[in-house]
């Protein structure tokens, strides 16, 4: 069953797009990440122009994170205060990221910057998480004490910096400076790579700030919805690259997938959850690393030159 996409200017198979939306939505709902880093390469692989792929999948992220956020609100698993601080830092980071994006493009090295950033981010974040998971697994298996539970007064030194705030839902009390710094970095990377940055935020909140897993997913989705809403409108205004038909198909597939994903995520044990997320990130990082280092079958590529008005 084929349908013609008015902005991408090509027909696609409806069922295939619905299935892709559902699959990415499942992963997104399960881990509290946007899933943009999975959807964009899939769409480009189908032959959809990269600009349209990047712009349109933001609509799907908006839809699936709306569902997640509403669910989190009902379960009281959203730290609105922490989320707002993250959004604030993220917006500043986005502006810097957009500026760096333009600078890299002028230098003609944008592709390289993007692929290298992908590889480093995914490998580092995934590797750290995997290491942590495996260590946890071994201590559990040997009957030793699991990671000591966090006790009051036992905090990392950077949380003692000035401008301290109390985040009740996240059981976190400390300086907002490292939190803003993290948000800034995520906003920067997100704007540069066209991703929401949930995959950096989830492990960072889990490991650096020791926020409870249930709150992490809701709060991360809250930040994602804010940044992707802005990105969606900006893409429509600046690039006219949002395909509403493709967006609808992805959304319909995605919202269902996200529901089942969220349910599956809640039934997962916390250590398995972290292990799976680590494997997913490493796999994506590895894929980009291979793209960079393996001798390509076709050394040539063709692209429409961007002409600026």
């Amino acid at each position: 069953m084929q349908i013609y996409l008015p902005i991408a200017e090509m027909p696609v198979n409806v069922l295939l797009i619905l299935a892709m939306g559902a699959a990415v939505g499942f992963i997104s709902g399960m881990f509290g990440i946007g899933g943009g880093f999975l959807m964009t390469p899939l769409l480009i692989f189908l032959g959809i122009p990269p600009a349209v792929a990047v712009a349109t999948q933001t609509a799907q992220i908006v839809a699936s994170s709306t569902t997640s956020v509403l669910g989190a609100v009902r379960r009281n698993a959203l730290d609105l205060k922490l989320g707002s601080v993250m959004v604030f830092g993220g917006l500043i980071g986005s502006v810097l990221g957009v500026w760096f994006f333009a600078a890299a493009r002028r230098a003609g090295q944008l592709d390289l910057v993007i692929v290298v950033s992908y590889v480093t981010l995914f490998m580092v974040v995934g590797g750290l998480m995997l290491k942590e998971s495996v260590r946890e697994f071994w201590t559990n298996r040997n009957g030793g004490p699991t990671r000591p539970r966090r006790r009051g007064g036992q905090h990392a030194p950077y949380l003692f910096w000035p401008l301290r705030m109390r985040f009740y839902r996240s059981k976190l009390y400390g300086s907002v400076i490292p939190i803003l710094g993290l948000a800034l970095f995520i906003g920067f990377a997100g704007a540069l790579l066209g991703i929401g940055g949930g995959f950096i935020m989830v492990p960072a909140l889990l490991y650096i700030f020791r926020v409870p897993t249930t709150v992490v997913v809701g709060t991360s989705q809250f930040q994602i919805i804010c940044t992707t809403l802005v990105a969606l409108v900006l893409h429509a205004v600046a690039n006219q690259a949002v395909d509403i038909v493709l967006a609808l198909l992805l959304i319909v597939g995605g919202v269902f997938g996200a529901q089942f994903g969220a349910r599956a995520g809640r039934n997962l044990k916390a250590d398995l959850f972290r292990f799976l997320l680590a494997v997913l990130l490493l796999a994506v990082g590895l894929r980009f690393a291979l793209e960079l280092t393996v001798k390509p079958e076709e050394r040539f590529s063709i692209a429409v030159q961007e002409t600026r008005p």
């Binding site: 032959g47 609509a59 908006v62 839809a63 919202v255 960079l292 040539f300």
Partner: protein
């Protein structure tokens, strides 16, 4: 595909010294794209008229139909090894490349005409791509970029050549079928027909057809272009609405 070809429209004019006149007609001058568009094909018909004084040619006629899609500014990049990684290094620009190029001939082009004429008149896929003005030449060998360009475009089904694509129904009437894949972009398409006999061009015609979005597809395209902010906000609203609906439907916790 609607065959309105019974009405042959006079489009070509023979050069004064040669007595053949070429008349061509397309089955459709405006191809509409709607939501179930998956490519189309257009028939081209042609007739060769001789005035009374012209002697019949012993070798018979040949035709080459060249279809050119909307022009695009394309870049071909080549990856090469830098240390452990493969990077895009060299590139070649193709500033006026047609998005779609289809050559339909009645016989293999090498049999129809000479190499020199083929190159000069840009007859055939290779002659068009090898033409000096096809790339922004940097004065060095860009052969491999032209080869890669053709290979990549052919793989997408956008550049094709069929040496038996035009058939003569009678010695003076021919037809050819131009098939447009679904990914051929909307825009204006030029159809050039060259008539040959004894390796020389006797007459040429140029006609056009248009590939346009219609109905819903057209309105969406216009909205995205002319009402950008509203279009973006509307898409965002739909996304939020669907997300909310799903959370209501699945409300069980």
């Amino acid at each position: 595909m609607r065959i309105a070809a019974a009405l042959l429209i006079l489009l070509g004019l023979a050069t004064p010294s040669i007595a053949e006149t070429l008349i061509t007609s397309l089955s459709n001058h405006r191809v509409l794209i709607n939501s179930n568009y998956t490519g189309t094909s257009i028939a081209i018909f042609g007739a060769i008229e001789r005035d009374a004084q012209t002697v019949a040619r012993a070798s018979g006629y040949d035709v080459v139909v060249t279809v050119r899609g909307p022009r695009q500014f394309l870049v071909v990049r080549e990856k090469s090894r830098v240390g452990p990684v493969w990077l895009n290094r060299e590139q070649q620009k193709f500033p006026m490349a047609p998005a779609y190029l289809n050559v339909l001939a009645s016989r293999p082009i090498s049999e129809i005409t000479t190499d020199a004429l083929r190159q000069r008149q840009k007859i055939g896929l290779h002659a068009i791509i090898d033409a000096p003005d096809f790339t922004n030449d940097r004065g060095q060998s860009d052969e491999r970029f032209r080869d890669a360009f053709l290979r990549l475009k052919a793989r997408e089904g956008l550049y094709l050549e069929d040496e038996r694509g035009a058939t003569f129904l009678t010695p003076n009437i021919f037809r050819a079928s131009i098939s447009l894949p679904a990914i051929a972009p909307p825009g204006g398409y030029d159809v050039e027909v060259a008539l040959f006999a004894d390796t020389v061009i006797l007459a040429r015609t140029l006609t056009h057809f248009e590939l346009v979005k219609t109905g819903f597809e057209q309105r969406v395209g216009e909205a995205a272009r002319d009402w950008r902010l509203i279009y973006g906000l509307f898409t965002a609203l739909i996304a939020v609405f669907f997300g909310w609906t799903a959370s209501v439907i699945f409300r069980r916790d």
